[in-house]
């Protein structure tokens, strides 16, 4: 049953209809984060509600859609075997002499009255038209491009292999994908591997009016290019800690359409977000009594160093809060583990004019935090405010990272095989559609009667041209007379 073309067409249409249904509303998988329950009802009303209730928002993962694809694959497979092998046998074991009735059925059919045909010259004409000629007594069979008949089967093999790989590929262990958002200077481990990745620098270029290329609309700036200079590391020790020992593997800028490739792992530039954050601040340490300035020292907001030296002072980082806040008890805490939205440094300062046990000093790089959390009053209360001042000289000492770059890390070992399968299919299509299997039979049927028949798998016009060349040879002989003729026109 699976081998019939009718069933095949039915299954193609079934898959087509399934595909179409799935495109009516956005599929759940199209969202980066799954939309909330009731999304379809809210956005698309009644129809959307029914759509989601029927599970059509997950059409392409649904059992019925996958089943129809599997059935189609099975049908392609069985039909190919059922038809391909007999066809191969028939074409391999072709008889050179065919019955008159079969000859008469061919689209081109001619009957001549002649004692002899110019046999050698006919064969020559056929061969020069690139036909392979076989003879048997007074009969010949000329054939060309027989391999074109294998086209559909080659194509089908490619399709089946492609679908098979797709199904194998759906095993989650085989492929992986993760999205990593990194602000400039930030690094993070790639889950499931020993690799770490760092966004060293992110630059964005805009289409500017007046530059070469097409004019830019007034209403919106369109990015021309965005690029993340990425460093890929392997972690060699202390991988679970904040201070891993990393070795640089590769440093490379990544842009859209040009991913970083490393041993089967691809890192793509996916997108960016505008997320202004302080990356580092260069500060000076001022002794308020002597009015002496020391430093500068550089404080970064990602994994800051533990100790600093500024003149006679040794500054130790006692605590660091990337996003400083006060909890319900009024105790300092941080809202996020590593996003420096409101960084705060708690320093222990020794040496210089500091007492034995040192001073404790709290420093907020952001002006707004200085006010909000009252840095001066705080430091006055803990006894350091009158002695020490830590500050940046000007805004140019504050390094701000504006963009967070989103990268996608992906491994997919099946890709070359999928491409291979697609190319097999393509080769099959070209064989089947751009070449035609053509055959010509010439035979003596009775005393003084000859028959010429020709058949083409598609493209009757091309066949007629070939026939005309042969006829030109045969019919120039004055003893040859046509007594029956069908030339393939309709």
């Amino acid at each position: 049953m699976f081998s019939s073309v009718k069933v095949g067409i039915f299954l193609i249409v079934l898959v087509l209809v399934g595909t179409l249904i799935g495109s009516l509303y956005p599929q759940q998988s199209a969202f980066v984060r799954p939309p909330p329950d009731g999304y379809y009802a809210e956005t698309y009303g009644m129809a959307g509600e029914v759509y989601a209730a029927l599970g059509l928002h997950r059409t392409y993962e649904s059992w019925w859609f996958l089943t129809s694809v599997v059935l189609l694959a099975v049908s392609i497979l069985i039909a190919s075997i059922d038809r391909g092998i007999p066809l191969y046998r028939i074409l391999r074991d072709q008889k050179i002499v065919r019955s008159d009735a079969i000859m008469r059925k061919q689209p081109v059919f001619l009957r001549y009255e002649a004692a002899h045909l110019p046999w050698a010259r006919t064969i020559e004409a056929l061969q020069s038209a690139r036909y392979r000629v076989r003879t048997e007594g007074d009969a010949l069979l000329a054939e060309k491009h027989r391999w074109s008949r294998a086209g559909p089967y080659v194509n089908h093999i490619g399709l089946i292999v492609f679908l098979a790989i797709i199904f194998i590929r759906s095993m989650p262990a085989l492929t992986s994908e993760q999205m990593i958002s990194l602000i400039e200077g930030e690094r993070a481990p790639i889950a499931g591997t020993s690799y770490w990745i760092k966004n060293e620098r992110f630059v964005i270029e805009w289409h500017e009016p007046g530059s070469s290329g097409p004019p830019v609309g007034e209403e919106e700036a369109i990015p021309k290019k965005f690029e993340t200079t990425t460093v890929l590391y392997t972690c060699e020790a202390r991988c679970e800690t904040d201070d891993p020992q990393l070795r640089t593997v590769v440093r490379q800028p990544i842009v859209v359409n040009a991913p970083l490739r490393h041993q089967g792992m691809d890192v793509y530039q996916y997108g960016y977000e505008v997320t202004p954050q302080i990356r580092s601040v260069r500060v000076i340490v001022r002794d308020k009594q002597s009015n002496q300035e020391y430093g500068p020292i550089v404080l970064v907001t990602q994994n800051p160093k533990q100790t600093y030296t500024a003149g006679p002072y040794t500054i130790t980082l006692i605590n660091y809060f990337p996003e400083f806040a006060l909890d319900a008890q009024g105790l300092p805490t941080t809202r996020s583990a590593n996003t420096p939205h409101a960084p705060a440094y708690v320093f222990g300062i020794t040496g210089g004019s500091a007492p034995e046990k040192g001073w404790t000093y709290v420093y907020f790089p952001r002006e707004i935090d200085k006010e909000r959390f009252r840095q001066q009053a705080l430091n006055d209360r803990i006894g350091s405010g009158a002695h020490i001042d830590i500050r940046a000289r000007s805004m140019s000492d504050v390094d701000i990272a504006v963009y967070t770059s989103t990268l996608v890390v992906r491994t997919d070992p099946t890709l070359p095989y999928l491409l291979g399968a697609a190319l097999i299919s393509m080769v099959g299509l070209i064989m089947g559609f751009y070449a035609q299997h053509r055959r010509m039979w010439i035979a003596r049927t009775d005393e003084g009667q000859w028959v010429l028949a020709a058949h083409s798998h598609k493209n009757v016009y091309g066949l007629q041209r070939d026939v005309a060349r042969v006829r030109a040879v045969i019919e120039t002989d004055p003893h040859v007379r046509i007594i029956e003729q069908k030339d393939g026109g309709s």
């Binding site: 073309v5 095949g8 067409i9 193609i12 249409v13 898959v15 087509l16 595909t19 179409l20 799935g22 495109s23 009516l24 599929q27 998988s29 199209a30 009303g45 392409y60 994908e177 289409h207 070469s212 290329g213 097409p214 004019p215 830019v216 609309g217 369109i222 990015p223 021309k224 290019k225 965005f226 842009v255 859209v256 359409n257 040009a258 991913p259 691809d266 793509y268 530039q269 996916y270 996608v408 992906r410 890709l415 999928l418 491409l419 697609a422 190319l423 299919s425 393509m426 299509l429 070209i430 559609f433 751009y434 598609k458 493209n459 009757v460 016009y461 091309g462 026109g489 309709s490």
Partner: protein
Amino acid sequence: MQTLYDWSHGALIVAWGGYVVSFVLFVWAKMGKPTMRSARMERWAHVSVIGALVAHIVYFGLRWIASTFIPVSNFFEFIVFLSMMCAVAFLIVYRIAPSGWLGLCVTPVIVILMAYALAFPTEATPRIPSLHSVWLYIHVTTAAAGEAFFAIGFAAALMLLIHVIGTAPRPRKRDVWAIETVLVCVLIVVGFIASTFAFRLSGYEARFVSEQSTVVYAMPPIAAPYGYDVARMDAFLGMTQPLTTTPSWMKGVQAGRKWNTVLWSVSTGLILYGLLRLLARRPLVRALGPRLQGIDVAQIDDMSYRSIAIGFPIFTLGALIFAMIWAQIAWNRFWGWDPKEVWALITWLFYSAYLHVRLRKKYEGVSSAWLAVIGFVIVMFTLVGVNLVIAGLHSYAGV
């Protein structure tokens, strides 16, 4: 730079004129009585297509130089490229089987496609980073080449249907109704083109404002956008206020403008149809069919099929394989069930079904001609409708 754009645009208009001329010559050659002159006319029509194609290529080259990248990045450029491919595809099929009938049905398709493209903004648009890829252009151009052959298949099939249904002694009502619907759809496209150009020439403008945004109409508002107030509106035939408002469920800033354009296109198309029908005093197909006398149905059927068979591998390569390669590079997944991808797949499945249907002798002729027509409707929906109706990653195409 601007002069180069102007020159290329000029070449495009010349090309368009060339296709119009060849259409007229094909009509002259095939729809009159066959004489010695009509054969010569057909040769001239063929030459005229070649000349128009040369101008078309000049447009393409100049615009490529002016904008520094291959001009297939926005909707206008793409459709113009598609029509260029149609001319190429026509010349290829014409070489295989020279038939003036093919020219007669293909040239109007090219003319309409080009005029349709010109109804959209013709300025080159800056490209977002995912469009900076050689693969994109390989994908788009190859897919368009495949679709061009489907267009030839469509044109031939439509002509075959008009002839067969138009001259049948007792045509089935359903068939007449169906073919008239297709003709009405073609006239709606013509209506869209006509109304766009008419209002563009007259410089019509109406502005609507809401708290968030402003919407500008280039056509008199049959339907004002939902939730907007009239800021300024040119009068049109004494009409100073919008007639109706767009239904509230139509989302999106431009939904009102699009809906208004649809209303104008449909009404202009229907008026055109009504006028033609009054003139013919019978269904259009019954008026056109007999004018196509002398058509070789089997030959046209074969040409329609052959065009699709030639186009199918090209389409597979361009719209699926190259598309997947590009998607893998640009979006890091070769397939994402994006509406445009889905519809390319639907197109491919449909034409696969068509090619399998053709394996059975009894579906040759009228039934498979219908499939060839529907197939091209799917192609156009994939190119135009998806952007209009379903938004996805491809919405940069700017419809």
